[in-house]
Symmetry: none
Subunit: 282 residues, 2 copies
């Protein structure tokens, strides 16, 4: 198919990108995986990689053949070579990234910003699991499990998280309603809250007025609140059944959302598991 066999990993990567549109479904799956996780490929076996890329072992062989290699092993050599060549430069690269804040041209600084964000966000993620209590997680999942339906409110930065909650909960077939205040109807939407529901409130400092109003309305009706915020001393803490505090990474006075998103994800999947177990037990 492609007779000229690539000599370096970069070479191969280019050929893959180029050929990608013409590849069949499974081969493209492998192509995507290879571009994304070259390190895994360096050490993996056909068996482990097949699992990771969710394809049949022989697909890897066919893939290697398609790019001119005699088999998987020959192709793997390229990935190992690459890894070796990378190790010597590594120290230097880290030094570069940890340098002063953007001094060079736009090109460099943009990538430095990205690197720093990645690093800071990764760090705050690493702490997240430690900072969130088991009890809070369990309580919130139980609340969501028992709820007739779930409403979510959040504005501005918090809106992205709120919309993700709505998406995720619907994905696992829970009734989820996003209070988005469309056409200024925050209060009208909040009126639909029932005391057998649950309200998830996502709110970061400075706490949005609309969000506080909705939360107050809900509290008056006796609707349990699950709060996700960035401070223990937020105005919602006292009325909340559960109060998650997430410290998202901050770079250059801009806060991220990675940790909040991660917690949202964990709650959703945790709920999915709980529901599964419930069903299994009758």
């Amino acid at each position: 198919m492609i007779p000229q066999l690539p000599e370096t990993l970069d070479d191969l990567n280019n050929k893959i990108k180029q050929a990608s549109p013409t590849l069949s479904k499974r081969l493209r799956q492998v192509a995507d995986y290879v571009l994304e996780a070259p390190r895994e490929v360096a050490f993996g076996t056909v068996a482990t990689l097949s699992k990771a890329a969710q394809v049949h072992p022989s697909t890897w062989v066919r893939f290697a053949n398609a790019f001119g290699f005699s088999g998987f092993s020959e192709m793997q050599g390229l990935f190992q070579q690459n890894l070796l060549s990378q190790t010597s430069n590594y120290q230097e690269r880290v030094r570069l990234v940890r340098n002063e804040w953007p001094s060079g041209d736009v090109e460099d600084s943009a990538h430095q910003i990205l690197s720093q964000f990645c690093e800071e966000n990764a760090r705050s993620l690493e702490q997240l699991a430690e900072n969130i209590s088991k009890d809070d997680l369990t309580t919130s999942i139980t609340l969501l499990q028992q709820a007739l339906s779930v409403h979510i409110v959040g504005v501005r930065r918090a809106f992205s998280v709120a919309s993700y909650f709505a998406y995720g909960l619907r994905h696992i077939e829970r009734k989820a309603y996003l209070i988005d205040g469309i056409a200024g109807m925050f209060e009208e939407q909040a009126a639909a809250l029932d005391k057998n529901d649950v309200l998830i409130v996502v709110s970061f400092a400075p706490y949005g007025e609309e969000t506080l109003n909705v939360a107050n309305l809900a509290a008056q009706k006796g609707v349990p609140l699950i709060v996700l915020s960035d401070s223990h001393s937020n105005p919602l803490a006292s009325m909340a059944k559960v109060n998650f505090v997430v410290r998202d990474a901050q770079v250059q006075s801009f806060r991220g959302l990675s940790s909040s998103m991660c917690l949202a994800q964990a709650i959703i999947i945790g709920l999915a598991h709980a529901l599964e177990k419930e069903n299994a037990n009758g």
Copy 2:
């Protein structure tokens, strides 16, 4: 002989140096080789390494046993780990250590899920900076800088990211319009696109039809597209000026958004920097 098995390569190296004088001739040959060429050990097989160190294959097994390993393969793991950690990525280590999916009760499993999500997301963040090319970042920032206004489209899971773009861009005082298809008006909203604008398209597999339609309309009008997706081979790639591929962590067939959010953030802040510089220079 030496019951305590080393946990890191450094650990092992120290133990080797310490034990070296007491080792037999062949074992010392291996010891010398191991200290001198750890990188070879990471990739080699018992056969190739035996030749390189001029010993019999079984010597390697005896050597590994002498330091408490169950066999050569177990010892080799340490060398692979080391190589990966040098390249900033400890994916392999976690892959090796990672155990089965939670089996315990809801309380434990919920927190386990959170831990795993944090871990996976942190890992994919670490890779993000490496996988995103400088050129793509620069190009997209320049496009956004020159754009009269910015439109953003994304549905379902991608909607959270799209809404974050809209929020962030407005925050730095760019004109940003979120094409949310409210009241089914995707096409009507898309009609507002001007060729001096830019369209940011966020789309993950399976690519939403609405998103593709909007992107097509934009492309026809000559509006530059910045695409953020999860695969090199997405249906938008060919029409895009820039095609960012972000592989968000996946746990239990549910994908996160941490990395996408992080990239969005970096683009926004990178743009803010570029605008600042532009203003400073007159």
